[in-house]
């Protein structure tokens, strides 16, 4: 539950079904073979893993409530068709025996605790790995994940299958504890109950997952000890889960961590206010205009309509390699729509897009990102569960790139370097500690560090004020010049546009009304009219 819901943000209601599949597999193997329990345990993980992939491939196009309903229906179908016929070995009375050293109750407890420990170590390692960090990323934003060149489906599927495998091991351990099980333990409502208590205790953290399991047993026992019926415990979990949800996500374990963090913070008597790293250059940065080069990004007759409204009308642009190309226009002119179309989020547009001479019109956002067309979002999309360094690492390599390729990609600038250029805190800082403006700068860094052919920066300076803004513009100029990235720069700050851009295109009501050098364009009467209105 921690992996699937708290990390990847997927609402799955078939965890107990996967546990049941694990138990079913072990029961079947026990009936048909003479394998010892430890040898059967890997199959208990493998079978649900495969089931998770099979059911996941189609289901993971869905999200939120659709996924919840779909997985719930899957668990109902399995419970009715497979589990209802009884588990293998149930009728024959063929009991599954735990390994010899775990025969006593205390031995079995230690065995389970050891297995849990192994799983906890594995999950923690996974969470820190790229795979795990992509889970956080996809939870935060699927679009941003795809825009960084990562397959959303693969990311979700890995979370789904891993959580299914863990559930399968749990099911097998449950089976060995009791010797035989009926389908009753693996009914859909059990999955819902587990989710509810996972919400309450916050299974996203290890201790939360332990609480979920522990209190799931202890609370009913406690209730019967004080003379209350056991089966009101789901009601308590429901109340607890709702309270936890209404107070923000993470449940009890997140709340406990927040408290301990606060205590830790208070106990540290002094905080060194780190001096901001020396800036590359303080005054306004003058860019030397680039010589005319061949276009790296060609936009041919792009049109986008929403119903009767033409958001973009036959836009054609050629962006020369190594240039700093400004795209300006009043609000609602279609600037962000153009970025969406270019990065592949509007598959139904008309016209063609050529990157480095290759037609990428039909490619998905992920493939475009892999080919070196990266973008940032107007409303920051950095996942809050990661650290600065963790995010940059994800952003710097695309999944298809080999390790050697990845190394060469990041050769141009190290993380520390790029963080210093942009005055961002060190790589170990959690993203939650950054203010909104810095998060957006980080997103820009992410786009640049992959050393793309073209970076589409959608209003990167929104949310930055005064000196921060000036510093950012300087750093951006330096980084772009240093890395040799072509930039399509959407901006409202005309001063920045004039000082940075080699050429500028102006959009108004979805039409391209002017292109040329910044000075010429800003004096163009049509551009003045678009911004200020006509005087006549």
């Amino acid at each position: 539950m921690g992996v699937i819901y708290d990390n990847a943000g997927l609402l799955s209601l078939c965890q107990m079904t996967f546990a049941g599949i694990g138990a079913w597999t072990v029961g079947w193997l026990n009936l048909k073979t003479n394998l010892p329990f430890l040898a059967m345990l890997p199959f208990a993980a493998l079978a649900p893993f495969i089931a998770g992939v099979i059911i996941g491939i189609p289901a993971l196009r869905l999200r939120g409530q659709n996924l919840a309903v779909f997985t719930l229906m899957f668990s109902v179908a399995v419970a009715r068709v497979i589990f209802a016929d009884g588990f293998p070995g149930l009728i024959e009375g063929n009991r599954v025996k735990p390994p010899g050293f775990a025969y006593s109750d205390s031995g079995y407890f230690l065995f389970c605790a050891f297995t849990l420990g192994l799983i906890a170590v594995a999950v923690t390692a996974l969470r820190r790995s790229r795979t795990g960090r992509w889970w956080f990323s996809v939870r935060h934003s699927e679009r941003a994940t795809a825009a960084m060149g990562r397959s959303v489906v693969v990311t979700k599927l890995s979370a789904f299958a891993v959580s299914a495998a863990i559930a399968g091991i749990g099911g097998a351990l449950l089976l060995a504890l009791n010797g035989i099980v009926s389908g009753a333990s693996f009914q859909p409502i059990e999955s819902m109950t587990i989710l509810t208590s996972a919400l309450m205790f916050g299974a996203g953290h290890f201790e939360g997952a332990v609480f979920t399991g522990l209190f799931g047993q202890l609370i009913p026992n406690f209730l019967s000890d004080i003379g209350l019926p056991r089966d009101i415990s789901p009601m308590l979990f429901a109340v607890g889960g709702i309270i936890a949800l209404s107070r923000g996500e993470g449940g009890l374990s997140a709340a406990l961590r927040a408290v301990s963090k606060k205590l830790l913070y208070l106990s540290q008597t002094s905080h060194d206010d780190e001096a901001p790293p020396a800036m590359i250059q303080s005054g306004p940065f003058e860019r030397s205009p680039t010589a005319a080069t061949a276009p790296v990004l060609e936009i041919k007759n792009i049109s986008v309509s929403y119903g009767m409204v033409k958001a973009l009308d036959e836009i054609s642009l050629a962006i020369p390699e190594g240039s700093f190309f400004g795209l300006i226009g009043p609000n609602g002119a279609g600037k962000s729509t153009l970025v969406d179309a270019l990065s592949g989020f509007l598959p139904n547009h008309e016209g063609h897009i050529l990157l480095d001479g290759e037609d990428i019109t039909a490619l998905s956002p992920r493939k475009r990102a892999l080919r070196g067309l990266r973008r940032t979002f107007q409303h920051g999309h950095t996942p809050r569960d990661l650290t600065v360094g963790g995010y940059l690492d994800l952003a710097s390599i695309a999944e298809a790139a080999s390790f050697a390729e990845a190394a060469s990609l990041t050769e141009a600038a190290s993380f520390a370097e790029i963080l210093e250029w942009f005055s961002l805190p060190p790589a170990s800082t959690p993203i939650t500690a950054l203010d909104v403006g810095s998060r957006r700068i980080l997103e820009v860094c992410g786009a640049l560090i992959s050393n793309p052919k073209v970076a589409l920066l959608d209003e990167p300076t929104a949310g930055l004020a005064g000196p921060d803004r000036e510093r950012f513009i300087n750093a951006l100029t330096y980084a772009v010049a240093h890395l040799g990235v072509t930039v399509l720069f959407i901006e409202h700050d005309m001063e920045a546009v004039v000082s940075l851009c080699d050429s500028v295109a102006v959009l108004d009501f979805g039409k391209l009304i002017a292109t040329g050098s910044p000075q010429d364009v800003l004096e163009d009467p049509r551009v003045v009219a678009a911004y200020l209105g006509t005087s006549t």
């Binding site: 109950t193 919400l199 089966d231 979990f237 409303h379």
Partner: protein, 282 residues
């Protein structure tokens, strides 16, 4: 075969009613109600066992499930009106777990006779017996679709509740009475679904959990309607009921009958969601 089709209409009608009320609630309150009132039919059964009149017991059952639904609605309006879909869905699941547990506690899982509230009248059409219950279920389902489509699209209240569901704070700033409208919507869907359930319950093994399972057919219906279209949800509910019934035509198929709603929903979802790519607008 035709007999099976007609037999499937009753369950299909129930799926349709519940499915349509799930869709109505989703459009009005942006949440999928996993816990469509299963309590109503039980109160009726208990009332009858205790000897009070059938009419009163029925009314009490419907009133109880409506007010329960209303309470859930107010809870949601209070705590989760600005929360995202995932959080609302998770919260709804928690509510459902609580309700199920409460249901087990109060009613146990022993099957009990749900009183037959409709006379056992039936008509014979072309050699096939159609019970009055089936006809009434279908009538309720169709009426619900027609009335709710009209309410949602053409009345002031319909527009108000849709506004609440999409942007509660904005709606409130515009002067829409949040509290009463929320109570109204949830209470009404509780009423419709418990009434529908009561009618079909007499045809089903009346254990708490099997009545709860009706919701799964209804879920399939609501999914087919993509949580938006009342008409499609109606068609989907009937379709699931009929296919489920027809699937017991052959002995070897009957085993898989329980998976029918899932399979249908799966096929429909893959078709309708095939272009669905991104989570949220930029």
């Amino acid at each position: 075969m035709l007999t099976l089709v007609v037999a499937g209409l009753a369950a299909g009608g129930a799926y349709a009613i519940l499915g349509v009320s799930i869709v109505v609630l989703h459009r009005m309150a942006s949440v999928v109600n996993f816990s469509q009132a299963v309590v109503g039919a039980y109160v009726t059964a208990i009332g009858v066992e205790r000897g009070s009149g059938l009419l009163w017991a029925t009314l009490a059952g419907i009133a109880l499930s409506s007010s329960l639904s209303m309470l859930i609605g107010l809870l949601f309006a209070g705590l989760f009106s600005e929360a995202g879909v995932a959080v609302r869905t998770a919260a709804m699941i928690a509510v459902t777990v609580g309700l199920f547990a409460a249901g087990f506690r109060f009613f146990g899982d022993t099957p009990r006779a749900v009183p037959v509230i409709l006379p056992g009248v039936s008509v014979t059409v072309g050699g096939v017996v159609v019970t009055a219950a089936t006809l009434i279920v279908l009538a309720i389902a169709i009426t619900t679709v027609l009335v709710m489509s009209w309410v949602l699209s053409s009345t002031r209240i319909g527009v108000q509740v849709r506004a609440i569901s999409e942007r509660p704070v904005v709606a409130e700033l515009l002067g829409v009475p949040l509290f009463t409208r929320t109570a109204l919507v949830w209470g009404f869907t509780g009423l419709v679904s418990s009434a529908g359930q009561l009618v079909v319950a007499s045809n089903l093994p009346g254990s708490f959990s099997s009545l709860g399972l009706l919701v799964f057919g209804a879920m399939a219906a609501a999914l087919i309607g993509a949580f938006r279209s009342l008409t499609l949800a109606f068609v989907g509910g009937i379709g699931v009921g009929v296919i489920e019934s027809v699937s017991s035509y052959r002995e070897s198929w009957a085993e898989y009958r329980g998976a029918v709603p899932f399979l249908i929903a799966a096929v429909v979802l893959f078709w309708t969601q095939r272009h669905q790519v991104w989570d949220a607008p930029r």
